[in-house]
Structures are given as structure tokens and as C-alpha cells.
């Protein structure tokens, strides 16, 4: 696409993808460092965006830093393209970058997500951008940033092991359902962002580049393609993902993360795929879906 064609599509008065070029360069430098040290949280000069902190400003800045006019963007929240904040972020980039947007995981070059990894496997060349509220996986165990930086530097993750052990002693299992900590490349403990632990295995040796942006906390980190990612566990209490005793009520999938939908006030409920694109694809072409 030539410059004039880009200009024509981008909202007047904004730079391409909203941020100025200096800021985007700073973000790209941060991303390069993050890719070079997988799982390490790199501080960056996070800007105030026209969307509130805590509503995806980190992911938005990362996406703004890497997006080009030929990219196709997909934005999901809770696995769905139609949730209000996903709609708002997609509209933001359609307006300020004039890029093509899509609901289809396979058609997207960049996928910005909150709380889910798509069910459809990602491929080489795709980038998945996670919105991260609290980038520090040990924050709820140690509130001080000075201390947690020391823990990572010295690779002294005893406090995490003890916390998981206490869960097992008290509840007979690790009581950590989402934002379940992982070890990246056998070095840094990392927060996978608040995805359900169901999605953790998808991070391991994924062919796509994973970028994580925390705007309010001013950190970016990354998992390069095909990097080993292991969920923290014990030999006698291995990591396990959630399962449901019924399939998706719409597409019949037994391999996807299901949302519970309350259908009346007498306790009736049904289970449907949280990934709306995956579910719709299976309804359209039941045989082609991944878990058949």
C-alpha cells in the first residue's frame, strides 16, 4: 500500500496507529530486548493512552508498535470478538491505522487478546499480543517490586514453591485457576496474564510470537516462537487443566474452554465455547474443526 492510500484510510490528525514514531521505536526496542530474554519483564516508557489503564493499554501500545498497513488485526476479550472492549479496541485501530480487521484466527497476522488463547492453533508468522494487568507473577506473594526483581535476578523462586505447597497441604490441590505461573525457557517465572490454566499448554513451543504488554505497570515481556513454557507444578501433583462433563451446546466440541451460561432463574445452565470464532467455524464446517 502506498503512503497516500494509507493516509486516506487513517483518521485525520493522528499519526499512523496513534502513537508518534519515536514512541513506537522505543516500544519496538523494548520488544527486541524482551524477545532476547524470554520471560523477563522489560520496563518501558508506557504512555497515557486515550483508553483507561487496566483496559488493555499495554496490549494496545505493543500492537501500535508492531502494526503495519498490511496487517490484519483480530481483537478478542474472553475469547469473543464481540465483547464491548474488544469492539472498542478493534475500532481504535481501524480508525487510527486503517488496517483490515477480522474475526478469523487463521486470517489474522496480529491477534490482541485479553484472558484467552484462541482454540485454533496459531502458526508461524502470527503474533499474539496479550493484555496484562499485573506482569509480576509473584506480586500477590511479594508486593515489593524491589524484592521481586531480586528474586528473578537470583532465580530464587522458593516463595512460589512454598505457596503452591501450602495450597496442596491445605486444599489437596493447587488452588490457582487462572494466571497460573509458568517457567519460560527454564529460566524466568512468568505470568501468562489471566488466561485460564486451560490455555497454559498452548503457550509451550507455540509457532507464533507471544508479546505481553502491561501499560499501567510499564512492562513488556515476550515468548519467542517454539520456546519451551512449563506450568509450575510438583512431580506428585502434576499440572492439570480444567475439564467439563458435557460438550459445547452449540458446536459439540469437547476440546474447547466452555463458558457457563445461566439460562433462567431456576438454576438451568448450558455450556458454550468461549472462543466464538472457533465455535462458529465448527458450526459452518463441523468436520474441519481441530478436535475432530
Amino acid at each position: 500500500m502506498n503512503a497516500a492510500a494509507i493516509d486516506a484510510k487513517v483518521e485525520a490528525g493522528y499519526n499512523f496507529a496513534y502513537l508518534d514514531e519515536q514512541t513506537k521505536r522505543m516500544i519496538r526496542r523494548t520488544i527486541l530486548k524482551a524477545v532476547a530474554v524470554p520471560g523477563y519483564q522489560v520496563p518501558f516508557g508506557s504512555r497515557e493512552m486515550p483508553l483507561p489503564f487496566g483496559w488493555g493499554t499495554g496490549g494496545i501500545q505493543v500492537t501500535a508498535g508492531i502494526i503495519g498497513p498490511d496487517d490484519t488485526l483480530k481483537v478478542i476479550d474472553q475469547g469473543a470478538d464481540d465483547t464491548t472492549n474488544a469492539v472498542s479496541i478493534r475500532a481504535f485501530f481501524a480508525k487510527t491505522a486503517g488496517v483490515a480487521t477480522t474475526d478469523h484466527t487463521g486470517a489474522a497476522s496480529i491477534i490482541q487478546t485479553r484472558h484467552r488463547v484462541p482454540e485454533t492453533p496459531l502458526r508461524e508468522g502470527q503474533v499474539i499480543v496479550f493484555q496484562v494487568p499485573i506482569p509480576e507473577p509473584l506480586r500477590m506473594l511479594e508486593p515489593s517490586e524491589v524484592e521481586t526483581r531480586k528474586i528473578h535476578a537470583l532465580e530464587e523462586y522458593g516463595v512460589l514453591q512454598v505457596s503452591l505447597y501450602e495450597d496442596i497441604a491445605r486444599h489437596g490441590r493447587i488452588a490457582w485457576a487462572y494466571n497460573y505461573p509458568v517457567v519460560v525457557n527454564e529460566r524466568y517465572v512468568m505470568s501468562p496474564s489471566p488466561i485460564p490454566k486451560f490455555d497454559n499448554p498452548k503457550l509451550n513451543r507455540n509457532p507464533a510470537l507471544q508479546l505481553y504488554g502491561a501499560g499501567r505497570e510499564k512492562r513488556i515481556y515476550a515468548v519467542p516462537p517454539y520456546t519451551p513454557v512449563r506450568s509450575v507444578d510438583f512431580e506428585d501433583h502434576p499440572f492439570k487443566i480444567e475439564s467439563w462433563d458435557q460438550p459445547c451446546a452449540i458446536c459439540g466440541s469437547t476440546a474447547s474452554f466452555l463458558d457457563e451460561v445461566i439460562t433462567d432463574d431456576r438454576g438451568s445452565r448450558m455450556y458454550v465455547c468461549s472462543d466464538t470464532d472457533y465455535c462458529a467455524d465448527r458450526v459452518a464446517e463441523p468436520r474441519s474443526a481441530a478436535d475432530d
Binding site: 483507561p52 499501567r216 452449540i250
Partner: protein
């Protein structure tokens, strides 16, 4: 049959239209002008400029109008605009000793050179609702003072400094570049320039509560209001091509210098120490709270034990920013049903397990 909700885009658009309508209110009532907000809600404008980190009365008034009077929302609007502006240069430090003073008081001496100047203050008003304000009307004109205020009022602190009773303030500009939180993330330990920037941008209510906590024993630092002054100061910068300072603006600021007791340490003799506060416009509550917290945060440097929240640098500096805080608190409104589903699965499994072990225990007891 449940169908995934579509049409988020239209719903959002309609919500925005409704918001504009609600903002305007009853169309029979004349619409607020920016001049009215700028002239009659001056202290709201001052607060929005201070915490929005942008000195522009008109834009602050616009933000207040757009935010329907929600000042934290107005601060957010101004910040989001500010972040798109290029940074041309760094000004010279403002010289508050040369302030065109409109109000200046000291609580440490009965009289000070230049005198106590009350100016316009709520301080001695009786807080009785003035029902006459419900109707339009012009107030009686205030009489001008018999003598003009001197051009230059030395700070009260310089009097104590001369006697060696007060720690000497570091030189105004020692040549090292000042930090800028809007460009570089906070790192610890934070230098005082960054701390002061953080506090100046910080939420007035949060700093007020923290400052108050020090007065109630959580890190007490025995403060005296050495001086509070409010008025206009010149902003100067040195354009590279000129090589000398030129005035680019006059701004209104409130400055608070606290004088705090200090018993001395192994390195320092007993002397008074300082806490400093500064904000745009007229904001004494903010400047004083900031000064209390600034002094509390100097605990480490002065060899005092850090044991209270206001002395904890990470606790204070990470939580002052109301744009960050408001966003994160309110993000709980976003859908969390995936996380919640994970928790539901976990809690149900744990309940089933607890129930099973209760049964085993009950059978064993029989």
C-alpha cells in the same frame, strides 16, 4: 437457544450518543461556557491542570465540561491529550522567591519580612451556606491594600537557613537532567526529583490521607507550615540558538515549605528539615499534603526508621496516580467470565472433595 451476543458496536455507539445527551442536561437551561468554568470553577480547573500535568486553563475547562464535572475523568482527558504533545525543551527552575505574591502566610513566626498576606482564602469563613448566591448578583468590591506587596519576598526558610537551624536546600539546578516519569518508568530507589514529580501529579485525596496519617502517628515528622505562598511566577527557558534565557509564560502556583523537627543523626546535627509541595493554581490542601508526604519519604535519607505507609516509597509512589488507579479499579467492570469459570470449576471440585472427606470422617466415627 443461546446465541452469542452480537451488535456490541451499535450498543457502544448508542451509549456515546446517550452520554452526550446526559452531559448536556435539560436543553432549556443555558449551556455552560468554557469561560464560565475557567472563571467561576477556578479551583477545579487548577486541580485538573495540576494532576493532568498540563498548564492550560482553557483545555482544563473543556475537560471538566466534557467530563460532566468528574475531575478525575477530566484529569484523564487532559493526560491523554498531553501525551500526544512533543516535548520541546526543559525550562529553567522557576524562582518562587520572585513570585508576584497574592497570598503568603507563615505559621512559624508572628510576623515575617514582607508581612503575612491573607489574600483570598476560605480559611476564616464560617461555612454557612450563603443563600444569596442562589440568585445572580455582584459582590461588593474588595478594597485595595494601603501598601503594595514588595516585588520580592524572601522565603521564611532563608531566615532559618542563615542561622544554620534549617538544612540547606540543595542547589536549584546542579546540571544533572531531571527525571521525567512520563517518559521513563519509575525505578527504585527513586530520586527526589522523580518523587516530587510523582507527588505533584498524584491524587489530592490520596496524598491528603497519607499526609494526615503522618500527623496521627504513622510516621510523624513534626511539621510546621514554614510558609505557604501563592501567586504568579515567570517560566524561562534557554533556546539553543539564543544561548540566554527568555521568558515564555507566567504561571500561577502554590508553594508549601514545611519545616520539620529532626533530632539529628550520626552524620547530621539536630536541625530542622524540609518537606516541599508545589502545584499549579491555588491548591493549598494539595501543596501541604504533598509536602508532608515528601518529608515522610525522606526517612531513608535522614536515617529514620521506615515503618509507616507514608514512608514506604514503593507503596506511596505506585499508588498516587489517579488515572492509573481509576482505570484499574474500574476495569473490574470488564467481562471476567473466563476467569470466573475457571474459579467455578475449581471451587466446585474443592467443595466436592471437602464433602467426600466429610462423609468418610462421619462413617469412620459411626
Amino acid at each position: 437457544m443461546y446465541v452469542a451476543v452480537k451488535g456490541g458496536e451499535r450498543a457502544i455507539e448508542n451509549s456515546h450518543k446517550l452520554l452526550a445527551e446526559v452531559r448536556r442536561g435539560d436543553p432549556a437551561v443555558p449551556e455552560l461556557t468554557l469561560a464560565q468554568i475557567g472563571e467561576q470553577l477556578t479551583l477545579a480547573v487548577d486541580r485538573v491542570m495540576t494532576e493532568g500535568s498540563l498548564y492550560d486553563r482553557e483545555l482544563a475547562a473543556l475537560a471538566i465540561k466534557q467530563a460532566r464535572g468528574d475531575l478525575v475523568e477530566a484529569i484523564f482527558l487532559l493526560r491523554a491529550y498531553r501525551t500526544t504533545l512533543p516535548r520541546f525543551a526543559v525550562s529553567l527552575p522557576i524562582e518562587t522567591a520572585a513570585m508576584a505574591v497574592r497570598r503568603r502566610i507563615s505559621a512559624t513566626f508572628k510576623d515575617v519580612p514582607g508581612g503575612q498576606i491573607l489574600g483570598a482564602t476560605f480559611d476564616y469563613t464560617h461555612r454557612l451556606l450563603d443563600f444569596s448566591l442562589a440568585e445572580a448578583g455582584e459582590p461588593a468590591a474588595a478594597e485595595p491594600a494601603a501598601q503594595p506587596i514588595p516585588d520580592r519576598l524572601p522565603h521564611v526558610s532563608t531566615l532559618l537557613e542563615r542561622e544554620g537551624l534549617l538544612e540547606v536546600a540543595p542547589p536549584a539546578d546542579d546540571g544533572t537532567p531531571v527525571g521525567d516519569l512520563t517518559r521513563d518508568p519509575l525505578r527504585f530507589p527513586a530520586d527526589r526529583d522523580v518523587r516530587l514529580q510523582n507527588l505533584a501529579r498524584g491524587d489530592e485525596g490520596f496524598l491528603l490521607a497519607l499526609g494526615y496519617s503522618t500527623q496521627r502517628g504513622y510516621g510523624n515528622n513534626h511539621p510546621f507550615a514554614g510558609e505557604i505562598r501563592f501567586g504568579e511566577v515567570a517560566v524561562e527557558m534557554v533556546p539553543e540558538e539564543l544561548g540566554f534565557a527568555v521568558e515564555i509564560a507566567d504561571i500561577t502556583v502554590t508553594e508549601c515549605e514545611l519545616v520539620n523537627q529532626f533530632k539529628g543523626s550520626a552524620k547530621e546535627p539536630p536541625q530542622f528539615t524540609r518537606g516541599y509541595g508545589l502545584c499549579f493554581g491555588h491548591g493549598e490542601r494539595k501543596a501541604m499534603s504533598m509536602a508532608l508526604v515528601d518529608r515522610a519519604l525522606r526517612a531513608g535519607e535522614l536515617g529514620e526508621e521506615r515503618k509507616s505507609p507514608a514512608q514506604n516509597e514503593e507503596f506511596v509512589l505506585y499508588h498516587t496516580d489517579n488515572v492509573e488507579a481509576s482505570g484499574f479499579v474500574q476495569h473490574l467492570k470488564l467481562p471476567h467470565y473466563v476467569d470466573f469459570q475457571s474459579e467455578l470449576v475449581l471451587v466446585r471440585a474443592m467443595r466436592a472433595q471437602a464433602e467426600a472427606s466429610r462423609k468418610v470422617m462421619a462413617e469412620a466415627a459411626e
